[in-house]
Symmetry: C2
Amino acid sequence: MTMFSRFTPLLDQLPATVPFVGPEAIERNRGLAVKARIGANESGFGPAPSVIRAIADAAADTWKYADPENFELKQALAAHLGCRPENLAIGEGIDSLLGHIARMVIEPGTPVVTSLGAYPTFNFHVVGHGGRLVTTPYVNDREDLDGLLDLVRRDNAPLVYFANPDNPMGSWWDADSVVAFARALPASCLLILDEAYCETAPARTTPPVDALLDLPNVMRTRTFSKAYGLAGARVGYVIAAEGNAKAFDKIRHHFGMARVSVAAALAALKDQAYLAEAIAAIGRSREKIAAIAAANGLAALPSATNFVAVDCGRDGTYARAIVDGLMEHGVFIRMPGVAPLNRCIRISAGRPEDMALLEEALPQVLKRLA
Amino acid sequence: MTMFSRFTPLLDQLPATVPFVGPEAIERNRGLAVKARIGANESGFGPAPSVIRAIADAAADTWKYADPENFELKQALAAHLGCRPENLAIGEGIDSLLGHIARMVIEPGTPVVTSLGAYPTFNFHVVGHGGRLVTTPYVNDREDLDGLLDLVRRDNAPLVYFANPDNPMGSWWDADSVVAFARALPASCLLILDEAYCETAPARTTPPVDALLDLPNVMRTRTFSKAYGLAGARVGYVIAAEGNAKAFDKIRHHFGMARVSVAAALAALKDQAYLAEAIAAIGRSREKIAAIAAANGLAALPSATNFVAVDCGRDGTYARAIVDGLMEHGVFIRMPGVAPLNRCIRISAGRPEDMALLEEALPQVLKRLA
């Protein structure tokens, strides 16, 4: 394959990767149809009907760029969160914001601390900027706050990633522990506190917004992709000290937001009644997944997210066989990438019809593997 | 303002900027309402009715991420363009793709060649990656191909930017000259050939797709933002040698595309009859802008784009006064940022009602300035 001869040495050494293979690619590559799309932690309950209407209403205005200052969305988010618009940065999903933060902090060789098996897309950005990943294992399927702190201190790392609740395990820490962790970090280390799944977490999991706003070394990332059911819209945001939020203006894509996506996010924020319904439906689906797991002799882990990690009791090869086997029945799920987490499969909350397909397929897959 | 203390030295030295202030910000800052939105080279003719329907139809599916491989859109674009899907990279508008290319080539201090007064967002990305801008002036309001080539050779630059047709002047080179320029470049220099406005250019302005595909040092950027009327959707693409297209997978945001935007782009590609109508309407509007200019003693420059640069015959201060004065009448336009180009104002093609507002306001503004 011909390629330009003078890309940066860093680019030359990077692998071409897709952090997550999409269900569409699996369908194409394996000649299978996805019937239950419960693998990417999307929300099959969908966005609110009011949001779908807002997208349709905004469609004719798609000839206009979105407001590069995201003024209206920042105002609405600030009112909803109880912070100032100046504490917010908006981006095309958390993935994009993680990329920006990586670029803001990482130079070639910079040590970056995360948990072994945590969010691969963050790792993709770290490596993509020449950073050096330093990891500590999960303890009892939970990210290890003491372990993260020790690594930060040992390597004098300027960046640490911690998701609460966690993906891929669904586990969580209480808000007090999170605040204590943030305050124990040296000021020279920026904490990315990824709260993509905060809406579905139990009370007192997510620290109040103002509990960390005084810390210039904390950035909290959130999204409309999960409980709000807007994964395809690409709307994420950062809550941070004003100076940090403003720093994104140095490198962000000012015209990166899709206009209908902004309209969708605004409508979603307004429809908190629907959000409450969706969260309740996700909770019921988590229970159903746990029941299906138990009926098949598998152990669902407690979850604060819109998915459930199910311990299949053996190794990653076995879990992979279950994932692949379910896909043959049209049930798309995923699994953690690293031992010992990869003894689990990861099933997203879904509609009753998705759960029915899972319930039908799982025993058949397990029987064939027995 | 509190800010994290350990951002990279590069980030610390960057200014916080917005390459273009949006019309919404102007409305807020000046307390004025935009009535004729003809400043951002959007298309007031809008996307096709079939595209608006496609967005509405896709709205309910916004709970799903878009296919990270962009398989369907690449297939459709390849069929439309007459290349292979492997020759394409998709991104959230050309701005985003320019950022990726900058990152792929630029290290601190890397010289990057462009024209003095050319696309500011490209410059934003160059500076944002620590590159050093090296510029040559426009000659007769056209980018100077010989001048660009000389600078590339002089500084052994690995990257050169050239837009054909040009923004902000609307000028263009014929396809043969473009091909000759690309082939004259050293293989060690990557040409970004920005063809954002190719749909509205005269015949034989844009080289055939296959005319440059054998060159591993050429990347052509295109967009659905201009003639297709989908600026708010954020869909751009790169046409390049296979190895170059694949290189984006090393750093791009795999889940960056909004799902309804992909649906919009697919529908837009299918509706070439509407595109032809839009191009004709843009052509009529260009003529109308020229006529309005002439009626006011100003000289419209020839344009191959969806906007017209109008020479106001004096300096940048005078042109700025016209831009600001028109905004007081609700007519939003922009102007080039650098002398001598900034003797001009830049007016986007618009609907008859937009042209009527311009026609009414311009003589009043000029009279007050006289």
